[in-house]
Structures are given as structure tokens and as C-alpha cells.
């Protein structure tokens, strides 16, 4: 029984990942749902599937493990919240950007490699002993490489 469920979980997760890599926002959200299904079933399966009674003490034991069920109950609700949030974000993204192509959203966080950091300390000519110079320093600083000059 566990083997069957392991295969099913693999299928669900695989489907979810495939959808997650899609370009359409709605498919991305659906992919997340599939991963949620797979994850929930996995928690239950890993704890062991048994043909005992549900953990209701009104029934006669032995009972199945109640702990994973409690965990999954939380997970279902959180999964729903995630889906709702993602859908709204997708909606908002469409309203702002005018399209639903995930691949068109990108943000370059990198610093411009060509950007200057500012003056570098010169071992031969230190700055003046004043807290904040009112005027820019007038000394000439050597550039990073001995060849180039930097004002």
C-alpha cells in the first residue's frame, strides 16, 4: 500500500513541478496545489498506512496515528492560504504589468559591475585630519591600477 502511495505522490509532485515551471501564472498556482496534495499524502504515508480505526475514541481501537493527521490539517489550511495569496498576487501582477507571462517578470538585483565604489585609500597620501571635509579632497589619488588616473 505504501508503495502505491509513494508512486502516486511521485506523480503528483512531478506534475506539480512541471506546472510550476510553466509560463502562465495560473498554471504556476495549480502546480503549487499539486505539490501540496503530494506533500500532504507523503506525511500520511511516511507515518505508515494501516487498516486500523480512525483516531476517534468512540470507536474501538487500535487506532491509526493521529499526529500526521493533525499536521496535515494545518498544512491543508496553509496550502489554501498560499493558493489564495498567489492568485491575488497573480491578479495584481496582471493589473500592473498587463500580461500573465511569468517569464517576463525578472529583476536584476546585481550591482552594476562597472560601477565605481568611490575613492580608495592612498597609502602615500592620507586624508586630512578633519571629520567631514567641506570641499572635496584636492589630493590626487592613484587609481586602482597603476596606469589609470582618477580625479
Amino acid at each position: 500500500m505504501e508503495t502505491l502511495f509513494a508512486l502516486l505522490i511521485g506523480l503528483l509532485i512531478g506534475t506539480g513541478v512541471f506546472l510550476l515551471l510553466s509560463r502562465v501564472i495560473v498554471r504556476v498556482v495549480l502546480g503549487l496545489s499539486f505539490i501540496t496534495y503530494g506533500g500532504n499524502l507523503a506525511i500520511l504515508t511516511v507515518a505508515g498506512l494501516r487498516e486500523d480505526a480512525p483516531p476517534l475514541l468512540t470507536l474501538r481501537g487500535p487506532y491509526v496515528d493521529p499526529l500526521p493527521q493533525a499536521l496535515i490539517l494545518t498544512a491543508i489550511v496553509i496550502g489554501f492560504a498560499t493558493t489564495a495569496l498567489l492568485l491575488t498576487v497573480a491578479l495584481r501582477a496582471y493589473q500592473v504589468a498587463g500580461h500573465d507571462d511569468v517569464e517576463a517578470f525578472g529583476d536584476n538585483l546585481a550591482r552594476d559591475p562597472e560601477a565605481e565604489d568611490g575613492l580608495i585609500a592612498d597609502p602615500e597620501h592620507q586624508g586630512p585630519d578633519r571629520p567631514d571635509p567641506e570641499e572635496p579632497r584636492t589630493l590626487v589619488y592613484s587609481a586602482r591600477s597603476p596606469g589609470g588616473g582618477e580625479p
Binding site: M1, T3, A6, L8, I9, L11, L12, I13, G14, T15, V17, F18, L19, L21, R23, V24, V26, S33, F34, N40, A42, L44, V46, A47, P55, L57, V64, P66, L67, A70, I72, L73, I76, V77, I78, A81, T82, T83, A84, T88, V89, L91, Q95, V96, D100, D101, V102, E103, N108, R111, P113, D117, I120, A121, D122, P131, D132, R137, R144, S145
Partner: protein, 773 residues
């Protein structure tokens, strides 16, 4: 001793608090923090015979961590040195600093540094020693970068920190190795015999050397010291003449007792130290900025000290300790003098200055005494220690004495270059009228200069101080004495040769300058440093641009691919143990069929409505599975959530555009299939490997106590609201936050468009919107 170390930290907080009220007078408070350090001179006076005091404050006994402070002669001597220079620097800064300075911060950093330095020299526990060592790196970073609005100061601070942090890591490793090999975490408790026999001996030695060389600015790590002069001059005097840069020397002096027996120790330190001596002096000779000159001079003098301690014999230690005192006196005095010149004329450039002797005679006197001591001219302290240095090098061989003479001749020459600003026709930048400095600046400089003179005229005083360290550094057997006149010896002849060479260097300054420019290598430590940091900067920028700047699916592909590789490696290394398969019960087959149908359906679905419906199919399928797996609560919740989700999707669809086909490129399609397949396979394997892995479960406890403690017969419910109530509270919070976020986003969408966005045409809310088939 414990008080001496911790009072500066307490006073740092006090000064930070008082800084805005007392302004520059905070310096007087700061000076008080060093009083206990100065009082350490009292136990020091009995040191040549007395045994060291040990003060231990237990901290984390299980880790062998204790604040152990050991007051042996050398440590106390150094602590007093720090106390004296620290007090003088604090007082000097009162008169020196600009009105615009933030005094609270300045003195707080200064005291934090002073306390760290005291802790470093007094620590007996190796781990605590490392802690203080790192604290000196951090606090000196703060001090160098005090004027953080200047990019040059930031650059200098970062450079100093990077280099000394590299050494700090080496020291950490060395301390760990010593602790393992020596069987103790205290320096005095190390088993020296076991250590020498251990295979960890050589690595520990090399790592210790790396730490000492980076901290004490030995070649090729000297690059940080000159740029660290971006700090205000009082700080430079404190950090870079007397204390921080000598931390490496202290390390070599103390650890030399452990490692000195190895030929590797002296074999590395002495050449490196001598090379630093000559190279530092050679560069110092070419400087026109007085502070830069002093910086390179410090590099050079540290090389001298290193080479002497590196000799690891009684004579070397005796001489080095004597020179340590001399150097602290004359170098701090010179920093103070340069500060005075800068303060009075507004510049430190040698070519722009001249004839200051008449305007500031007292400053000139102090400068003269200190410079001549540095140059090694009698009757000053520097002369005596230089003679001893020559003696020690003569015992090593002709090459050593030749290098020593060369280095000292260069030292002689640059010392006179420094004095040149006092001679010649009066010259100073327009607008400045140089006159004698106020007493607040003069007194510290004068006191130290007079100390340099006293060390020379009364060699007995210097010898008495040096001898206090004889037990700690194990040179009690050395019979050497500090004397001004010790007869016509080879050392004296070497001195005469030095003066001759030095005079030539001074006389032929123009030619030396030309030679210096010609000999300047195009690649030096600084260019290497900038090439390295720039390289790392550019590399990381490019890497981030390539990875972080991508669209979401591509980032996901990278992450999933990496995860697949790592997990694949794990599976390959540890083949899983599969549990017995067992026949699947027939009752579950319809459920399985439902799940499969959903998964396959969503992959094949062309329209998004179909996709959502099919996803719902899987949702209902998993609810059915929960039901079959004896989890009625889950099934119920899943059903409800599934219904709401589908409604949610339909609501959103009204506002989303008609679905388009956005195909992936062919290789991406293949890659995605591969990634999805490996994710599925990974999940399957993980589940199979994890079945009943976590035995014994805690669940029987819940089953047994659900009714008794929670009063409920539905164990899952009791678990959620009683046993794991906080968990559920967190979950509710998450849902609440999501609800708020959704509300915000939805209302934002109604009111207007976000700035800069495109202009989406609101899709008419027709319920029966046609989907593309």
C-alpha cells in the same frame, strides 16, 4: 587585572552617553578608564623575582572557557604601555579633535579598542585571547572608519579588517590545534612536550605565524597599515605605534616559548622580519606625507621587532623587549608631533613645509629627540637598542648584519627627512600662521620624547623595565646590559657604517628619489589586493546578474537542478532500503485512479478552466484517499477547501486575460520534463525510505491522554486545539495575514493602477467568458 580589562568597556558606554554633554572634555573621562592599567605598574615593580598572578573568572567551564588573566612580567609591561599611551592619546585628542567631531563615538571606540588590547595581552586562556584578538580587529575597523562619510576611510577600514580577519581565522585554527595537541586551553597550562611531539605542531606554528604577520603588517601583509592612517592622528598614535600592530609581536614573543625550538619558526620569522625592515624603510624614505612616512616606518620597525623575537633565544628576546619600549616612546611621540604640525599648518606634506623650528621650538625639541632615537643616535634610547640589535645579528652571520645595517641606514635617512620640515626657510601653506601648540598637544608629545631621552641617558631605567619581563620571556640567563658606551665593538663599527650610508642617502636625496621611482614595482601588495577584491566584486555581480536576475521559472530551474544533483548524489551514495511492497488493497484503486486522472488531465488540459476543474478532481481524489486512510477530518477539510479554491479560481478568472498559449522553448520543455521526473522520483524514493522511519512515535501518548487531558474523543481535534494549540494559533495568524494581504491587493486593484504599470483593460465581468479550447 580583570578590572583593568573591563573598566575601559564600562567607560566606553559612559563616554558614548556623555559625549554630547561634555563634548571634547569626554577625553578626561576616557583617560580615567586607563587608571587600573597604569596601576598594574605596582605589581610590575616586583616582577623580576615574583611569580605571576593569575585571576580566573569562570565562564563556560564545560568548554574550558574562563576569563583567565595572567599577570606575568611581559603582559604587565605591555598592559602598562597600553595604559600610558592610551591615557596620553585620550588627553591629546581633547586638544586635537575638531569641533565637529562626534566625541561620544570617538572615545567609545577608543576605549573599546584599549580594553580589547589589554585583554589580549593579559589573557591566558587561548580562546579568550582569540576573542580579544578579533575584538581589536573590529574596534580598529571602527576607529579607522571613524570618518565614514569618506570613501577613503571606509576603504582603509575594510582593508585593515579583511587582512587582520584573515589572520584571525588562522589564529582560531591555531588555537584549536594547540588545544588538541597541548591538552589545555590555557597558554600556561599547555603540555609543551606533547605539543612538540604532535603532528599538529607544524600546522599550528604556520597558522600562528600567519596571524602574527597579518596583524603586525609584515610583508606582504603590510598593505593595510599605511591606509589605516585614515584615522585621526591620536588614533594612529594609539593603534599603529604602540598597541594594535604590536599584537602580532606579542603573539610571536609569547608563542615563541612554545614554537621556538623548531628551526621553522626562526627560519621564517627572521627573514620576513628583516625583509620588512628594509622594504618598509625604503618606502618610508620616499614619502612626502609625514603620516605616510611614519606608517611605513612603523612597518619597518615591526619587522625589526619580529626578527628579534623570531631569533627565539634569550638575547633576541632581551633586545626586542628593550626596543619595544623605545619604539613605543619615540613612535607615539612622533605621531603626536606630526599631529601638531598638521594642526598648526593644515598640511603634512614635506615639500610645503619648512623652517618650523623658530615658530614652534618646543615641538621641534620633542621631534628632534624622538627622531634621533628612531635614527639610533646617542644618547637616546633607540641607539642602545640598535646596538643590541647589531650584536644579535652579528651572532647570526654576515648576511644578517649587512641587511640590518642597510635597514638602519634607511631608517637613519628617513628620520632626518622627517626633521627637514623644521629647517630651511620658513614655508607653510598660505593662511596658516604656525605657532607653538597648546599645552594639551605639547605635553603628551614632550613626555614621550623625554622618556626616549631618559631611556638613553639613564640606561638603567630602561634595563629595569626590560628585566621585568625576564621570567615571562625566559631571558633571565642573558647577561646583556643596556649601556651607552660599550667599547669599540663590531656593533659600534656597524653603527658608524650605518651613519655613513645614511649620510650618503641624505646627501644624494635627488638620486635616491630617482632610483626609488625606477625601482617601484608595478605590482605591489596594494594592486594585488585591489585586483583580488575587484575580481571578487565583479565575479559576484556577474554571478548574481546571471542567477538572481532571471525570471522566476529559470531561477526555479537552477534551484531544482541543484537540488536534483545533490539528492541524486545522496541516492547514489546510499542506496535506499525498500520496504516490502505488499499488495494494494482493491478498495484504494479507484482513489488512485482519481489522482492519476487529475494529474494527467491537468498536463493535457489546454484551457485553464479545464485545468482548474481537473485539479479539483485531484483534490477530491486526495479527500477520498484521506477517507480511505482513516482520516475523516482531513477528508472533510480537504473537500471544503477544494470547493472554496475552485470558487476562488473562477472569481479571479473574471479579471485575468484570456488564456494564451505561452509555449516553452524545446530545450526548456525537455529540461522541465527531466526536472519534473526527477522531482517525482525523488519524492517517491523519499517516501519509501521514510516509511516508519521515525519510530517510536509519540502518538500513543496522544491516544492515551486525549480524553483524560483534553476532554475530547476526536484525537486529531484535541491535538490541534489542546496539545498543539500554539501551532494552530500560528496557523490562524498566517491565514489572517493572508486575508489582509489579499484584501489589500484586491482593493489596490480596484482603486487605480500602480505607477509605471501598463494599462490593462479591465475585462468585462461576463460570467460566461469563453475559454480558448
Amino acid at each position: 587585572m580583570t578590572l583593568a580589562v573591563f573598566l575601559p568597556f564600562l567607560f566606553a558606554a559612559l563616554c558614548a552617553w556623555l559625549g554630547t554633554r561634555l563634548e571634547r572634555r569626554t577625553g578626561y573621562v576616557a583617560a580615567l578608564a586607563f587608571v587600573p592599567a597604569l596601576l598594574l605598574a605596582l605589581p610590575l615593580s616586583g616582577m623580576p623575582g615574583a611569580s605571576p598572578a593569575l585571576e580566573v573568572t569562570r565562564w563556560v567551564p564545560t568548554l574550558g572557557l574562563a576569563l583567565a588573566f595572567r599577570g606575568d612580567g611581559f603582559s604587565l609591561l605591555f598592559a602598562v604601555l597600553i595604559g600610558v599611551i592610551g591615557t596620553l592619546a585620550s588627553l591629546y585628542a581633547v586638544a586635537y579633535l575638531s569641533e565637529r567631531e562626534r566625541f561620544g563615538r570617538f572615545y567609545a571606540y577608543l576605549l573599546l579598542f584599549g580594553g580589547s588590547m589589554l585583554g589580549l595581552v593579559l589573557s591566558d586562556n587561548l580562546v579568550v585571547l582569540f576573542g580579544f584578538w578579533e575584538m581589536t580587529s573590529v574596534t580598529s575597523f571602527l576607529l579607522i572608519g571613524l570618518w565614514h562619510t569618506r570613501s577613503a576611510a571606509r576603504d582603509g577600514a575594510v582593508k585593515a579588517f579583511l587582512v587582520s580577519a584573515l589572520g584571525g581565522l588562522a589564529l582560531l585554527a591555531a588555537v584549536a590545534l594547540l588545544g588538541i595537541a597541548g591538552g589545555s586551553t590555557t597558554l600556561s597550562g599547555l603540555d609543551v612536550e606533547a605539543l612538540r611531539a604532535s603532528p599538529l605542531f607544524t600546522p599550528a606554528l604556520l597558522l600562528t605565524l600567519l596571524a602574527a604577520f597579518t596583524k603586525s603588517a609584515q610583508l606582504p601583509f603590510h598593505l593595510w597599515l599605511p591606509t589605516a592612517m585614515e584615522a585621526p592622528t591620536p588614533v594612529s598614535a594609539f593603534l599603529h605605534s604602540a598597541t594594535m600592530v604590536k599584537a602580532g609581536v606579542v603573539l610571536v614573543a609569547k608563542f615563541g616559548l612554545l614554537f621556538g625550538s623548531s628551526p621553522l619558526w626562526g627560519g621564517i620569522i627572521v627573514p620576513v622580519g628583516l625583509a620588512t625592515l628594509v622594504w618598509g624603510a625604503w618606502i618610508a624614505l620616499r614619502q612626502t606625507d609625514l603620516k605616510a612616512l611614519l606608517a611605513y616606518s612603523t612597518v619597518s620597525q615591526l619587522g625589526l621587532l619580529m626578527s628579534l623575537y623570531g631569533l627565539a633565544d634569550a638575547e633576541g628576546r632581551f633586545t626586542a623587549t628593550a626596543h619595544l619600549l623605545n619604539h613605543a616612546a619615540f613612535k607615539a611621540a612622533l605621531f603626536f608631533v606630526v599631529g601638531i604640525i598638521d594642526h598648526e599648518t593644515g598640511t603634512r606634506e614635506v615639500p610645503r613645509l619648512g623652517g618650523l623650528r623658530k615658530a614652534m621650538p618646543l615641538t621641534f625639541a620633542a621631534a628632534l629627540l624622538a627622531s634621533l632615537s628612531m635614527a639610533g643616535v646617542p644618547p637616546l634610547g633607540g641607539f642602545i637598542s640598535k646596538e643590541l640589535f647589531y650584536e644579535a645579528m652579528l651572532h647570526r652571520g654576515p648576511v644578517f648584519i649587512a641587511v640590518a645595517v642597510l635597514g638602519s641606514a634607511l631608517t637613519f635617512a628617513y628620520s632626518f627627512r622627517l626633521l627637514r620640515v623644521f629647517w630651511g626657510p620658513p614655508r607653510h601653506p598660505p593662511g596658516a600662521e604656525p605657532h607653538e601648540a597648546p599645552p594639551g598637544l605639547l605635553v603628551p608629545a614632550g613626555l614621550l620624547a623625554l622618556t626616549a631621552l631618559a631611556f638613553g641617558l639613564l640606561p638603567g631605567s630602561a634595563e629595569a623595565l626590560t628585566r621585568t619581563a625576564q621570567n615571562a620571556l625566559n631571558f633571565a640567563t642573558h647577561r646583556g646590559h643596556l649601556k651607552l658606551w660599550h667599547g669599540v665593538t663590531p656593533a659600534l663599527l656597524a653603527t658608524l657604517l650605518t651613519w655613513g650610508l645614511g649620510a650618503v642617502l641624505i646627501g644624494q636625496a635627488a638620486q635616491v628619489g630617482v632610483l626609488g621611482r625606477r625601482l617601484t614595482p608595478r605590482v605591489n601588495a596594494n594592486t594585488v589586493y585591489y585586483a583580488l577584491t575587484e575580481g571578487v566584486n565583479v565575479l559576484s555581480s556577474r554571478l548574481i546578474a546571471r542567477t538572481q536576475g532571471l525570471a522566476l521559472p529559470d531561477q526555479l530551474r537552477i534551484m531544482l537542478g541543484a537540488a536534483a544533483l545533490i539528492a541524486g548524489y545522496a541516492v547514489w551514495r546510499a542506496p535506499q532500503v525498500f520496504h516490502p511492497v505488499g499488495t494494494p488493497p482493491l478498495a484504494l484503486l479507484p482513489v488512485a485512479a482519481l489522482l492519476v486522472a487529475g494529474a494527467v488531465g491537468v498536463l493535457l488540459a489546454r484551457s485553464r478552466l479545464t485545468a482548474v476543474v481537473v485539479t479539483g478532481l485531484t483534490g477530491f481524489g486526495s479527500a477520498a484517499a484521506f477517507l480511505a486512510l482513516r482520516a475523516p477530518d482531513l477528508a472533510l477539510t480537504q473537500l471544503l477547501v477544494e470547493a472554496v479554491t475552485v470558487i476562488l479560481f473562477l472569481l479571479v478568472f473574471r479579471s485575468l486575460p484570456r488564456s494564451r498559449d505561452l509555449p516553452r522553448t524545446r530545450w526548456r520543455y525537455a529540461l522541465d520534463l527531466l526536472l519534473a521526473a526527477s522531482a517525482g522520483l525523488g519524492a517517491t524514493l523519499l517516501v519509501l525510505a521514510g516509511v516508519r522511519f521515525l519510530a517510536p512515535p509519540i502518538s500513543p501518548y496522544y491516544l492515551a491522554n486525549s480524553y483524560r487531558l483534553g476532554g475530547g474523543r476526536n484525537v486529531v481535534n484535541v491535538l490541534l486545539v489542546d496539545f498543539r494549540g500554539f501551532d494552530t494559533l500560528g496557523e490562524i495568524t498566517v491565514v489572517g495575514m493572508v486575508a489582509l494581504a489579499v484584501l489589500g491587493l484586491v482593493r489596490l486593484g480596484k482603486k487605480g493602477r500602480a505607477p509605471g504599470g501598463g494599462a490593462p483593460t479591465p475585462v468585462p465581468a461576463t460570467p460566461g467568458e469563453k475559454e480558448e479550447a
